[in-house]
């Protein structure tokens, strides 16, 4: 079989590792992680553009290294060949191996930022997203100096407090080790970040199962959505996270 993989670059090492051992021929196209910081409709358009640019006569399916990602894949439409998408809220589900484990970890640790090799190596969005990012557009990433310049000293103090308050509720880094890292450099980096921020640190083992199954064509219905030609992705906010609906469905968003 020959597949095309369109993936967020946050999975770079995991996808490359798995594809090197796959019985299938898989062509990879990584897209920037910064797509997550722009409006979901723009993220969708960028990914759809890559589907449409794919010569579909060459492949049996297009695989996706994406979760629902804040509705950024909602509306993705299959053209001539099926799309295969993990049933995941975001990449952390994929790193942890299944959605149940993610949900239980998330429910018990709501104030956690996750780190993996990809989040460390590719965590900073490129320049092309500077002006487009929601944080930038809404003023959420303005520095204290910027705030003073724009709104005056007194308002700046208030704004800085308001706009960074949510960060105070996050108090821990969880490093997910996938078992394919060259050494402990990423764990060390996360420990260092935690120490500098005065945050807690946890390390958990990742699970390559979902990635293996995605790349190796083992798409069971519980873990993957297969979108047939003429169908598109919708979020269903149930345990299955996403489903497919016909493109001519009257209930268009």
């Amino acid at each position: 079989m020959r597949y095309k993989l369109i993936s967020c670059e946050v999975f770079y090492r995991e996808m490359c590792y798995t594809i090197s051992q796959s019985p299938h021929q898989v062509d990879i196209e990584f897209l920037p992680k910064g797509l997550h910081d722009i409006q979901s409709s723009m993220m969708l358009a960028r990914i759809q553009e890559r589907i449409d640019a794919t010569d579909q006569s060459q492949y049996q399916a297009i695989l996706f290294g994406y979760g629902l990602c804040n509705n950024g894949i909602e509306g993705l439409t299959a053209r001539d060949i099926p799309l295969v998408i993990p049933r995941a809220h975001d990449c952390i589900t994929v790193f942890l191996g299944n959605k149940e484990r993610y949900l239980s970890y998330f429910n018990n640790n709501p104030g956690v930022y996750f780190k993996t090799s990809g989040w460390i190596e590719r965590g900073t969005p490129g320049k092309e997203f500077d002006q487009l990012s929601i944080q930038q557009k809404t003023g959420l990433e303005l520095s204290y100096a910027d705030l003073v310049k724009k709104y005056g000293e007194e308002n700046a103090q208030f704004l800085f407090e308001e706009l960074t308050k949510y960060k105070d509720r996050y108090n821990s880094f969880t490093y997910i080790e996938m078992g394919i890292e060259p050494d402990d450099r990423f764990e060390k980096q996360t420990r260092k970040d935690a120490e500098e921020a005065g945050w807690g640190f946890q390390k958990v083992s990742g699970d390559m199962t979902l990635i293996h199954r995605l790349i190796n064509g083992k798409w069971n219905e519980d873990e993957f959505l297969v979108v047939r030609p003429g169908y598109r992705v919708v979020a269903n906010f149930k345990d299955t996270i996403i489903e497919a609906e016909p493109c001519d469905s009257a209930d268009q968003k």
Partner: protein
């Protein structure tokens, strides 16, 4: 009244100090506090909402305008309360269980407060039980639920289900919002309304009042 026009401008520009001073001055000149709210504060916040909708204002402008307005209201509300004047309506608001984000929720609360509503803000990570208890105790007209993550959106449904179970679903109108929330989802979980912006929330609440 020219001074009061300045009050509107101070709110729009987020000048909290000027807004307080102008309000105090107006009250000293025996301007009816209700007139200050209805003719100057509410229109000022409406203008802020409009500018936000057309991308002229962003989150920081909204926050400082709301803060200026709150400063004004702190002087006015005790007088209104002592006269027995009632707010436009009462809103219980909170970010649902599991979700720690509150900028959007705070903006909605501020805009509604600016529109003359009494706000009871339960904060973030609010469980369905806490919402139920607050509805029972405070008997608001509206319950506004916020979520920023697709993982926490189901908590909106759980909250509405909890209201049903407690037999108080029809006592309150439930509004939902937050980046990943859609009108489709609002309909699916049986909410009464959805808005995609803080200023839109004001229009929504007003439309549901009639």
């Amino acid at each position: 009244m020219e001074q009061l026009q300045k009050l509107s401008e101070a709110i729009i520009n987020g000048d909290a100090k000027a807004a307080r001073e102008l309000t105090r001055e107006a009250l000293n000149h025996r301007v009816d506090p209700k007139v200050i709210v209805k003719d100057y504060l509410i229109p000022a916040m409406d203008e802020v909402g409009k500018r936000f909708e057309c991308n002229e204002f962003f989150v920081p402008e909204l926050l400082i305008a709301a803060r200026a307005m709150k400063g004004s209201l702190e002087l006015i509300n005790p007088i209104l309360a002592s006269r027995g004047d009632k707010p436009a309506g009462r809103v219980v608001i909170g970010t649902v269980k599991g979700d720690l984000h509150d900028i959007g929720k705070n903006l909605v609360a501020s805009m509604l407060e600016g529109a003359g509503f009494e706000i009871i803000d339960l904060g973030v990570d609010v469980s369905p039980e806490t919402f139920v208890n607050s509805i029972k105790e405070k008997q608001p007209t509206f319950l506004a639920l916020s979520a920023l993550l697709t993982t926490t959106m189901p908590s909106m449904k759980h909250t509405i289900d909890a209201l049903k179970e407690a037999g108080i679903r029809d006592n309150v109108k439930v509004l939902v919002g937050g980046a990943p929330v859609s009108s489709r989802y609002a309909e699916e979980i049986g909410a009464d309304g959805y808005s995609d912006s803080a200023s839109g929330a004001v229009g929504l609440v007003r439309s549901l009042m009639t």
